[in-house]
Every structure is written in structure tokens, then in C-alpha cells.
């Protein structure tokens, strides 16, 4: 058995300290150690994008990182956006535009879009499609996701 390593990480504004196996994936750490199960795992090889979280405000695939790499960094997961009672404007837009069906890929798509809309507050359709082209969704055909992003862009600007 390998030695355990200390990890100190801020997740959704809250500080956590854990001793972890060095090979523990960041996705497994978030889901099973911290119990933030909103981050989903679809492929474990960095293609589907379902496990996307913000790492120092940049979107990363948490299945391609080890938990120990997060030591001293800040992570935001889908649980760090809105609550059921008060959704984030992006979440609201997804609900209004029917931008989700089974909802499995949705957290990863939301976490991809948060920094995208910050850097590009008024994207056109092709920019939106490009932004989510690294996130697979099998249910929606993407059209209502695109609509949701347009709606969110309006909401976030007003």
C-alpha cells in the first residue's frame, strides 16, 4: 500500500483537509471523499466532459487529475452554483429552455459554460457550439443547450 498524502483544498468556498492515496482521482475525491456527487463520471478518459469542474476558475476534467494535484488550489463544482430554491441564472436558463433531459452531462456542461460566459458574455451560436463541443450529451441534440446559453447570456447581462 502506498503512503497517504495530505491534501488541503478549497471547494465551493469551504476548506477541506484529507489524507489520500496518491492515485486517487480528483473526480473520485470530490464524489466519494467529500460527497459532492453532482460531479459525474462518464468516461474516465477525459472525452465526455461530464466531470468538468473549475480549478482555480478554469474548467478541467476532474477524471484526468489526481486529488493530490489539487493541494493548495480552489475548486468549484456544480454544488457551488445555485441552490434548488435559488438557481444560478445559467441553471435557470437551462430549466427554461429545456437544456437538459437525463441531466447526467449537465453539471459538466454548466461548469464549462460558467467561465466561457465570463470571458465571452455575448457569444453567437457558433461560438456557443464550439464552447460545448468537448462535452458529450446523448439526450438533447444540443439545440436547447444552445438556446439556454443564449438565454443565460441575456440574464447575466441584465
Amino acid at each position: 500500500m502506498s503512503d497517504l498524502y495530505e491534501v488541503a483544498v478549497t471547494i465551493n468556498g469551504k476548506k477541506y483537509q484529507r489524507s489520500v492515496d496518491p492515485r486517487l482521482l480528483l473526480s473520485d475525491f470530490l464524489r466519494h471523499e467529500i460527497n459532492l456527487t453532482g460531479t459525474h463520471v462518464g468516461c474516465e478518459h477525459g472525452v465526455c466532459g461530464a466531470c468538468t469542474v473549475l480549478f482555480d476558475r478554469q474548467p478541467v476534467r476532474s477524471c484526468l487529475m489526481f486529488a493530490v494535484q489539487a493541494n493548495g488550489h480552489e475548486i468549484i463544482t456544480v454544488e457551488g452554483l445555485g441552490t434548488q430554491e435559488k438557481l444560478h441564472p445559467l441553471q435557470e436558463a437551462f430549466m427554461e429552455a429545456h437544456g437538459l433531459q437525463c441531466g447526467f452531462c449537465t453539471p459538466g456542461i454548466l461548469m464549462t459554460l460558467v467561465p466561457f460566459l465570463e470571458s465571452n458574455p455575448e457569444p453567437d451560436e457558433s461560438e456557443i457550439r464550439h464552447a460545448i463541443s468537448g462535452n458529450l450529451c446523448r439526450c438533447t441534440g444540443y439545440q436547447n443547450i444552445v438556446e439556454a446559453v443564449k438565454l443565460a447570456s441575456e440574464k447575466l447581462r441584465t
Binding site: 492515485r23 478518459h45 429545456h98 441531466g103 456557443i128 457550439r129 458529450l136 446523448r138 441534440g141 439545440q143
Partner: protein, 781 residues
């Protein structure tokens, strides 16, 4: 009564899903929970000579290692899911259901050989690597056309050949029709395999409580009730001792309907044996081998027509790939037969089906389920006939549509329900006309197409029609309860995988009981809430469960009115249900809330009339006489880049007639997603097996699911021909988006490359394959 059915109502389930608070199977965590991993075969076809699990057992943290030998008498194949065979004369069916763990011979790559249970998934996977297994590989059966060759290796050596089933269906006299035809067109059509590719892989958590003698299982299944019944039977428990929960499921698309996957028996079994909770979550690599696949068929198909393009008959001999086992019976190829006559009045039909075993992953229905193959065959044959006869492709379809007066229309063959196939209702021409108008068919053919081609662009248009047999029985049920809070609880047995059941079902109830959709709480897929039913498959949720919920809502409404009439001292016909209240019409201050009525219906003291049932609650069931047939037309304009053979879809139009629409927002979402999957089936997604039965592209980096860059904007139109078979008038639509896309792609590609006289007779294509087809044609020129 305010109209709620048919409205675009936002989904009740979304806040939970959007905040990451919805429970998926892998989110279940129980103290003391163990984790499972499987040793799977690297070979597709091999004898299992020996297994040495000693090193794995000794690894710290490993709790159990199980092989077929270790299971003793509890090792049993099956059970089969769909009992063979249908009552057709001369049918042959060899039932060879899947096995829990390989005992003596591996029959497909990825078949499970051993189960490891450990304190963590990481340790379990390490221990899988510790197992020494001696596999002796033999030649594999891969190509279905070679499977029946006398020299082919045998997948099941107790059979004389790899023939799994043989079935002939016919209507009229095709040979006679052929003899008097002006034109007969014959082609070979080849369709290959794809994956369902749900974003959530499969998973199971089983928790046995020895003190209460109760087993709880969370399973990514589309059919929790049959899974519960099967687990109870296998483990020798009573059904009431087993609770199966299908919580939020990250996409189903068919393969989560397979019953029972070996893991669905093994994980509960080992959890009971060990007396500890056990979790198994499939990884994506396993998903490519261990989750069922679909589509492979080879057709020798023929169509006979008059010179004015009237179809006299269709005939086809076809092979269907069952994979290594056949627990799902003949559902897929029966669906193919049900769709080879398309939306057309075909008086003569002959179909010879041979199902073969191969050394590949099992096939079971995936969104479309045999229908895309059938529609591809008929639409391709019609396109080729239209070209040969000089008739416009739209016109030849119009000439052959089943006439609206001909419904209910007898197909005179049997379908997947093993019953005569009857198309209940339809009015096809207006749907086609609407699609042609939306895409601007005439303008494109006359002006836009020629103009763009003159500019040197390779632009093409396509328009195809399809039927979808939906909403098959046997039945579903629902229980509806008005609670003292005034909120409504609905429980039904079907599972849900993103179809919006928490909302569309709530709409059905809200309309009858005069409450807000957000006040109707729907529970699906939990056997402790409702334990009669079959599952979510065959586009039947809205039809079968939807109408059960409707019937149950009517029964509750009746109880509400009866009690309110007594309390308010007003005749029932003067009462209105609105805003959670029962009111006397025109006297707004004479009212009572549903919550207060619910309390009155469940008194703590006092006498009740004999025969009274407590509460405002009712359970009702619905079983359709036969399935409801939906219809639709898809049209598209695409452009081919002659350098790269990449295709850009410029316009995509869908007009769908699935009867009464419950929620157009949800319906359109289903169509968008279906089309996206169809685009994958047509141009991107192919599971590539080598001659040894090895899957060469078992990752999402190599198996290409369409992204937002490949899927175009989809314009959706609706027609509503109500089904006469159910009170809501609904027909299913879950699979409709997928079914006609390959046929449409083929037609539009041929249209875009007119000089080549291309004939596309295979699916899926890819830019590479299209390049090869074009090269072949250019060489021939």
C-alpha cells in the same frame, strides 16, 4: 377545466438535476460498502482452461473472488427476457441465454470471467490484475454472412450451426406480384453496429439487511419491477423482501432494459452472501463490451412496382446478428419486419429472417430497435425505383401511402408483441406536405439546388417518411393519492431516464384534479412505491403509463367530487376543481381545499358507510388492445465537401405525428436527441470489430458520438392524429427521431453528388467510407 395537457411546462425534476442533488446510482453510499470489479475476457472466443485466483484473494483489502466454479449450483444461465418463439408456422428458435460468469468457454470479448469484491474499487481493480487465467483462443465468428458457412466455428457447440432463429413471414403472394410487375429492383443492403452511448454507464448497489431480511437494490435499469421479480426468484426471496430502485438514470436508450445482465444477478447475490453492501459501477471501457449493442443486419431486398410507381410487393431475405447469446428473443428483427413496408400500402410481402450467433457482444434494442433498418430498406428501394421510373422521390411516396380511410390497417404479419400488426390510425399526406413546405422542397429542386450546383457546390436534399410502432402492452399502472397537504402523489412502475415523466405525467394529473403541475409529485421506478408493471421501452411511457395515470386521475376525481358534493351540499355537476380547491360553480365562497377533503376522507374517529374506501386515492391500470403507430417525415439539405468528404447539414426538418401531445417542449427535446443519435448512426458511429472479434474503437475518443459541432439546428412541426386505442389519444415518440435518419442521409448524399450516380446501400457511413464509395464510382466512369 384549464388545459394543461399540451402546454409547454417547465420540468419539475430540473432543479434537482441542475444543482447536482439528483440521486444517480453511483451517488449511493452506505457505511461498510464494498466495491466490485470484473475480470473480463480479452478474447472473443476461447476455451477457459484454468483460473488461479490465489494471489487476488491474498491481496490486502480483497474480500471475495468468485468464479463460475465458486458459484456451484447457483451458477445458472439466463433467464431469457423475451420468451421465444412467436406463433408462426415453422419457426425455429434456439434459446441460449447469457451466463453469469464464464464456465468453460468465452463467447465474446469482455464476457465476465471472475468477480472481485474489495474494500475499494482501486483495490478490486488491482486484484483483477492478480488473477491468472488460461484462455485457449479459437477462431471467432464475426462476419454474419460467414456465420452460417458449414466450416464456421460454432459459438454454441451443442448446436449444429450458428443459426439462432429462422422465421418466415408473408402477406399475399409476392411471387405472383413480382411476375406481373413492370419493374423489379433488387439490392443488397448492409447495416453495421453501434452503441447506445448513454452518458451514464451501468451500475448496481445492493444492500442486504440480515436483521430485517430485506434486500435493497439501486440499479440503472429501465425496468425495475421485472428486475426485482428476477432477483427475488434467483435468490430464493419473496418479492416483498426485495426493493429495486431505479433512481435518476443518466440515459437509457434501450440497453438498460436488458434483463438480467449478469451483474444484476451477481451483485445482489454476493451482497447477500457477504452480508455487506456491494457497489459495482461499469466503466466506459467495460460499457463498450458488456453493455448490449445493436443494428447489424444484411438484407437481400427486392421491390416490385408498376410503371407508375405503385408498389406491388416487397421481399427480403435477411440476416440479423444476435451476438453471443439471444435472451431478448426476436424483438429487433420482428420490428424490422414491421417496418420494411414503411408507411405504404404493400399488398404482397415475403420476409425470410435468419438470426445468427456471433462472437460479439449481445444485441438488444437501442433507440429505434430494428425499425431504422426496416425503414432504410424500404426508403432506399423506393428511391432507387423513383430514379429508375423517373418519378420524383416525394411523389412516389405520396402514391403509395396507406390511405387515411384504410385505418385500422392490417399488416397481416406478427409484430414484437407476438400479435398481428395493426396500424391503428394515421393521415400521412398532410405530414409530408408540411415537411416539404418547411424545407422548401419544390424551390430547392427547381431553383436553389440547380443554382448552387452551377456554382460548383455539392448540395443535396432528402425527404423520407417512416412509421413507428409504439406503445405496446401488456400494461402499466399508477396509484394517485391526494395528501392532507393538498399535494398529489403519483406512483408508477416505469423507470425514467430523462424523458420528463415527472412533468408530463404530472400534467395529466393536474388537468383532472385542478392543481398546479408543481404540486404533483411523481415517483417512478421504485418497487416499494408501485410494484406492478414492466418498464420504459418501445416508446410506451406516454401511451401505456400515461393512460394508466389518466385512468387513475379520473378515479380520484370521481372520489373528490362525490365527497365534496356531500360536504358542500351541492350536486356534483355544479362542482369545479381549480387551484387545489373544489368550488361550487359561480359561488366562489362555497369551496373546500383538496387537503381538507383528504383529511375528511380519512377520519380518525366516527363511523363510515359500509363499502367506503379511505382517502382520496385510486389505483388504475391501462393495457392497450394493440400498439399505436406514429408517423413522421424528416427532410434535410446537406452539403458535401468534395475534398474531405465531410458533410455539413444546412437544414433539418422533422414533422411528427404522435397523436395527442402532452408537452411539446419535452416532445421536441426527444426529437432533437433522437435525430442526433440518428446522425451518429448514419455518419459517425460504428463499432469496428476485427476478424478475431476484437473491438478496435472501445473508447469515446475512437467511437464518435456527435457533438454540438455535428448536430444541426432541427426545425420541428407537428400534426396530431389521435390514437383511437387510448383515452388520451397518445402515440409514442421516444424513438422517432432516430429511425429515418440513415435513410434520409443516403438520399440527400446521392442528391448532392448527382454526377456519380451513387447508390448508398450501407450504414453507417463515415467521411472515409464516402470517399471510398466515390472513388469506386469514379473508377467505373
Amino acid at each position: 377545466m384549464p388545459k394543461i395537457i399540451g402546454e409547454r411546462i417547465k420540468r419539475n425534476e430540473d432543479p434537482r438535476l441542475l444543482t447536482g442533488e439528483a440521486l444517480f446510482v453511483d451517488d449511493v453510499s452506505i457505511p461498510g460498502m464494498l466495491h466490485a470489479a470484473f475480470l473480463r475476457s480479452d478474447y472473443a472466443h476461447a476455451y477457459l482452461r484454468s483460473i488461479d485466483t490465489s494471489a487476488a484473494r491474498e491481496r490486502p483489502g480483497v474480500v471475495a473472488v468468485i468464479t463460475a466454479q465458486d458459484m456451484g449450483d447457483e451458477w445458472q444461465p439466463g433467464p431469457p427476457l423475451v420468451s421465444p418463439p412467436p406463433t408462426v408456422k415453422g419457426v425455429v428458435f434456439h434459446s441460449r441465454p447469457q451466463v453469469p460468469l464464464v464456465k468453460d468457454k468465452v463467447r465474446h470479448a469482455g464476457e465476465a470471467i471472475a468477480l472481485v469484491v474489495a474494500e475499494s474499487r482501486y483495490i478490486a481493480e488491482d486484484a483483477v490484475e492478480d488473477i491468472l487465467v488460461d484462455l485457449d483462443p479459437i477462431d471467432a465468428v464475426v462476419d454474419i454472412e460467414k456465420a452460417l458457412h458449414p466450416d464456421a466455428p460454432l459459438v454454441h457447440e451443442d448446436l449444429e450451426s450458428n443459426l439462432a432463429a429462422h422465421l418466415i413471414q408473408q402477406r399475399g403472394d409476392y411471387a405472383a406480384a413480382r411476375a406481373r410487375a413492370d419493374v423489379v429492383i433488387k439490392r443488397k443492403i448492409v447495416i453495421d453496429r453501434g452503441a447506445a452511448g448513454a452518458m451514464e454507464n451501468r451500475g448496481i448497489v445492493a444492500d442486504w439487511d440480515a436483521k430485517s431480511q430485506h434486500l435493497t437494490v439501486w440499479d440503472t435499469t429501465q425496468a425495475p419491477i421485472p428486475i426485482r421479480n428476477g432477483i427475488a426468484t434467483r435468490l430464493g426471496l419473496s418479492e416483498s423482501q426485495v426493493r429495486v430502485i431505479a433512481p435518476f438514470i443518466g440515459g437509457g436508450f434501450g440497453p438498460k432494459m436488458m434483463m438480467h445482465y449478469p451483474e444484476e444477478i451477481l451483485i445482489p447475490w454476493i451482497a447477500v452472501k457477504l452480508g455487506r453492501p456491494v457497489k459495482w459501477i461499469e466503466d466506459r471501457h467495460e460499457n463498450f463490451f458488456a453493455t448490449t449493442q445493436e443494428r447489424t443486419q444484411v438484407h437481400e431486398a427486392e421491390i416490385a412496382l408498376t410503371k407508375d410507381g405503385r408498389v406491388l410487393g416487397v421481399s427480403h431475405n435477411f440476416l440479423h446478428d444476435s451476438g453471443a447469446y439471444d435472451p431478448y428473443g426476436l424483438t429487433i428483427p420482428l420490428n424490422t419486419q414491421s417496418h420494411v413496408m414503411g408507411a405504404y400500402d404493400v399488398p404482397n410481402y415475403y420476409s425470410d429472417l435468419k438470426v445468427v450467433f456471433t462472437n460479439k457482444t449481445l444485441t438488444t434494442p437501442i433507440r429505434g430497435a430494428g425499425r431504422p433498418q426496416g425503414i432504410f430498406v424500404i426508403e432506399r428501394l423506393l428511391d432507387i425505383a423513383a430514379k429508375e421510373l423517373g418519378i420524383d422521390p416525394v411523389e412516389i411516396r405520396m402514391r403509395n401511402f396507406i390511405h387515411p380511410d384504410a385505418f385500422p390497417y392490417q399488416r397481416e404479419i406478427i409484430d414484437q408483441a407476438f400479435a398481428p400488426l395493426i396500424l391503428d390510425s394515421g393521415n400521412y399526406k398532410p405530414v409530408l406536405e408540411k415537411a416539404a413546405t418547411m424545407i422548401g422542397y419544390d424551390r430547392f429542386v427547381k431553383e436553389e439546388g440547380p443554382r448552387l450546383r452551377a456554382e460548383g457546390r455539392h448540395v443535396g436534399i432528402g425527404l423520407v417518411s417512416f412509421i413507428e410502432t409504439t406503445g405496446v402492452g401488456p400494461y402499466e399502472g399508477a396509484r394517485i393519492t391526494v395528501e392532507a397537504s393538498g399535494k398529489i402523489r403519483v406512483a408508477t412502475g416505469v423507470g425514467t431516464q430523462g424523458q420528463g415523466h415527472f412533468t408530463s405525467f404530472a400534467q395529466i394529473v393536474a388537468e383532472q384534479l385542478g392543481v398546479g403541475v408543481e404540486d404533483v409529485h411523481v415517483s417512478t421506478g421504485d418497487t416499494s412505491e408501485f410494484h406492478w408493471g414492466t418498464g420504459t421501452f418501445a416508446s410506451r411511457g406516454a401511451v401505456v403509463a400515461g393512460n394508466a395515470i389518466h385512468a387513475s386521475a379520473l378515479a380520484v376525481r370521481y372520489k373528490i367530487l362525490k365527497l365534496a358534493s356531500k360536504v358542500l351540499e351541492a350536486p356534483e355537476e355544479e362542482l369545479e376543481l381549480e387551484d387545489g380547491q373544489v368550488r361550487v360553480a359561480d359561488i366562489p365562497n362555497m369551496s373546500i381545499s383538496l387537503g381538507e377533503l383528504a383529511l375528511l376522507a380519512n377520519p380518525l374517529r366516527g363511523a363510515v358507510e359500509p363499502g367506503t374506501e379511505p382517502g382520496l386515492e385510486a389505483t388504475a391500470y391501462f393495457g392497450p388492445q394493440y400498439g399505436a403507430a406514429a408517423f413522421g417525415v424528416h427532410a434535410m439539405i446537406l452539403e458535401v465537401d468534395p475534398e474531405t468528404m465531410m458533410v455539413e447539414i444546412k437544414r433539418y426538418v422533422v414533422v411528427e405525428d404522435c397523436g395527442t401531445i402532452l408537452n411539446p417542449m419535452i416532445l421536441e427535446g426527444q426529437i432533437h436527441g433522437g435525430v442526433a443519435m440518428g446522425i451518429g448512426n448514419a455518419f459517425y458511429e460504428r463499432l469496428v470489430f476485427d476478424e478475431n472479434g476484437q473491438l478496435l474503437n472501445a473508447s469515446l475518443a475512437d467511437y464518435l458520438i456527435p457533438t454540438a459541432s455535428e448536430v444541426p439546428r432541427i426545425e420541428v412541426g407537428h400534426e396530431e392524429t389521435r390514437s383511437p386505442l387510448n383515452p388520451l389519444g397518445t402515440k409514442g415518440a421516444g424513438e422517432a427521431g432516430t429511425i429515418p435518419v440513415p435513410a434520409l442521409f443516403a438520399q440527400a448524399l446521392e442528391n448532392a453528388l448527382p454526377d456519380l450516380n451513387l447508390e448508398i446501400l450501407e450504414m453507417p457511413l463515415s467521411p472515409n467510407r464516402l470517399f471510398e464509395l466515390v472513388q469506386e464510382k469514379e473508377r467505373d466512369k
